[in-house]
């Protein structure tokens, strides 16, 4: 394991201070004259950093091997890529397309469906949140004059008569109401000349006048 370690390190630890100082002086003087320093050992050149602190391929391989032996773990450098104009352009194009897709106005659904009724036929609404388990679908078709709701319960639930429940619910839902008037029936005139009548159950003179 130690045989792979660069020899300069070994020597620098073992060498006396005077030798080290001499070496440093040599390095400094050669740097000043612009001559690259070459040590005694040729192997050292592979490990030593260049002036611009960049590692050559050979140096990098040796460094990786040393790291493997010392740590026992293989270290992988993160794959760092520079800006690739092509890929950047492609990504930016994708982003642009996504933005465009988001921005593009959706076709008006209300025009197709029956007067914008579909927004009320969704079962995933807050008013239905309590009954989400049992509510299957809501359908409203003005063209067929029908409103339909489908509800489902587990088989172990007891059977109920849904007709009475549907009629009870109808009486509780008011389309339009006048205070003190409980019921109102429209009577069509038998003749065209006659005026139509309303028969009401309850009294509210203020509303009448």
């Amino acid at each position: 394991m130690e045989s792979n370690l660069p020899s300069t390190r070994k020597r620098s630890r073992a060498a006396p201070k005077e030798e080290v100082e001499d070496e440093e002086e040599q390095i400094l003087s050669k740097k000043k004259t612009g001559v690259k320093y070459d040590g005694d050992d040729n192997n050292n050149a592979a490990v030593r950093m260049d002036d611009d602190d960049m590692l050559s391929d050979n140096e990098q391989e040796i460094k990786d091997e040393v790291n493997d032996d010392v740590d026992g773990n293989v270290k992988f450098a993160k794959d760092v890529r520079g800006y690739d104009e092509g890929s950047q352009h492609h990504e930016s194009n994708q982003d642009m397309q996504e933005n465009e897709e988001d921005v593009t106005p959706q076709p008006l659904v209300e025009a197709k469906d029956d007067a914008g009724v579909t927004e009320y036929t969704k079962t995933m609404r807050e008013v239905h949140s309590k009954y989400m388990l049992h509510l299957r679908s809501i359908d409203f078709q003005p063209s067929k004059n029908t409103a339909c709701v489908e509800i489902a319960f587990p088989l172990d639930f007891k059977k109920v008569l849904m007709l009475t429940l549907a009629e009870q619910a109808l009486t509780k839902v008011l389309v339009r109401s006048v205070p003190n008037i409980e019921k109102c029936t429209f009577i069509k005139p038998k003749k065209e000349a006659d005026e139509p009548c309303l028969v009401v159950q309850g009294i509210n003179f203020e509303a009448f006048y």
């Binding site: 239905h128 489908e150 509800i151 489902a152």
Partner: protein, 49 residues
């Protein structure tokens, strides 16, 4: 599975005579009638137990 279907005599008449649009009816049906019906039904189930 229960399917409750309400039939209106003529929805267009409601709009022309009383000004009640089909959208308003859909809102009433979905926001009021369906929760009321569900509430009543669940009550009935509880009673039956």
């Amino acid at each position: 599975m229960y399917r409750v279907e309400l039939r209106f005599d003529d929805m267009k008449d409601l709009e022309s005579n009383l000004g009640i649009s089909s959208k308003r009816l859909a809102q009433l049906f979905s926001d009021y009638y369906v929760p009321t019906l569900m509430g009543e039904t669940l009550k009935q189930f509880k009673k039956a137990e």
